[in-house]
Symmetry: C2
Subunit: 187 residues, 2 copies
């Protein structure tokens, strides 16, 4: 909207965009203090700031990637982490062949170096390794003092309550598709 020269956006426009009722947008925002202007709408710049603050992504987060295989490389190459304030500050792998190589401005280190995460101000880790090694790596990350883990391995991992884990199983996202697909699509 900013790119198109708009300064503000109304609850109705936001509602159309995400497909919900306008009053739900207003009600939700109001729980956090009401940052709109009556008769006008929400100042886009301010709205983005407010939402980032609510989601606690108003500060930079340094992130470690564990596992520089296909998926890990894809994550390193991903544009758009920056928008949400994430910086991949380190990458680790278990394969000696990969150690020392530079991928997207990050030098790959041996997983034994994970212990240094806290010292380096890294509090989030991305786990992109085979299922079998996921729990062990998660344990190591707990020891290393991270507070959040994004787990791409298709398995449940157990951590102390003081950590937050979000697991993304691509196959599960996939499995949601057929339910919503119509019987036939024309050409």
């Amino acid at each position: 909207m900013l790119d198109q020269g708009h300064k503000s956006i109304s609850s109705g426009q936001l509602a159309d965009f995400v497909g919900v009722n306008p009053s739900l947008i207003r009600k939700d925002f109001s729980y956090f203090g009401g940052f709109g202007t009556r008769g006008v709408g929400y100042d886009i710049d301010d709205l983005v700031k407010q939402i980032k603050k609510i989601l606690k992504i108003n500060v930079m987060h340094r992130v470690a990637l564990v596992g520089v295989g296909n998926l890990g490389s894809a994550v390193l190459a991903y544009p758009g982490f920056g928008v949400y304030g994430f910086e991949i500050a380190a990458a680790f792998d278990i394969n000696p062949q990969k150690i020392g190589r530079r991928v997207h401005n990050v030098v790959i280190e041996d997983v034994s170096e994970l212990v240094s995460l806290k010292k380096r101000g890294i509090d989030i880790a991305i786990v992109a390794i085979p299922r079998d090694a996921a729990q062990q790596t998660a344990d190591d990350l707990v020891k290393a003092g991270v507070r959040g883990i994004l787990n791409f391995s298709p398995c449940h991992i157990t951590v102390p309550r003081k950590l937050k884990v979000i697991t993304i199983d691509i196959a599960m996202d996939f499995a949601r598709l057929p339910y919503y697909m119509p019987r036939q699509a024309g050409a």
Copy 2:
């Protein structure tokens, strides 16, 4: 549970596993007809079958992958699509260097071959290409007659109502993490 020799599972066990109230499990299942046994629980084999039927993943789905870069390769290498009845039956790329190469038992074809999807019984596509090309490719897929798209590009794509699109923006999943992370985690 099957691996551990269990034949059936109770609503309480399922509830513990996903962290909800047991009656919610029972109520939800009951909407689809109640397939448990009183005093015993749910037969695991049958439960899996029932859920697959509900989600319409009880039939094989042939899937096309568009974009064999890092992310696309990761998808091809992903174990566990099979569990949900998905088979990656074709892969496409725009890079002439990649055409003809075989990756994980799939030969990469030029994107111009997308038109043959319907004929080949492929009705789902995975879009794993740069943001700029996503909408154009989606349009091509609509023409090719797919009924569902799993979009990994970090952008909104517009399709006719007769198609279902699920967009997975890794960065957005990421953005959920800080909100739930505790202030401090010990070593």
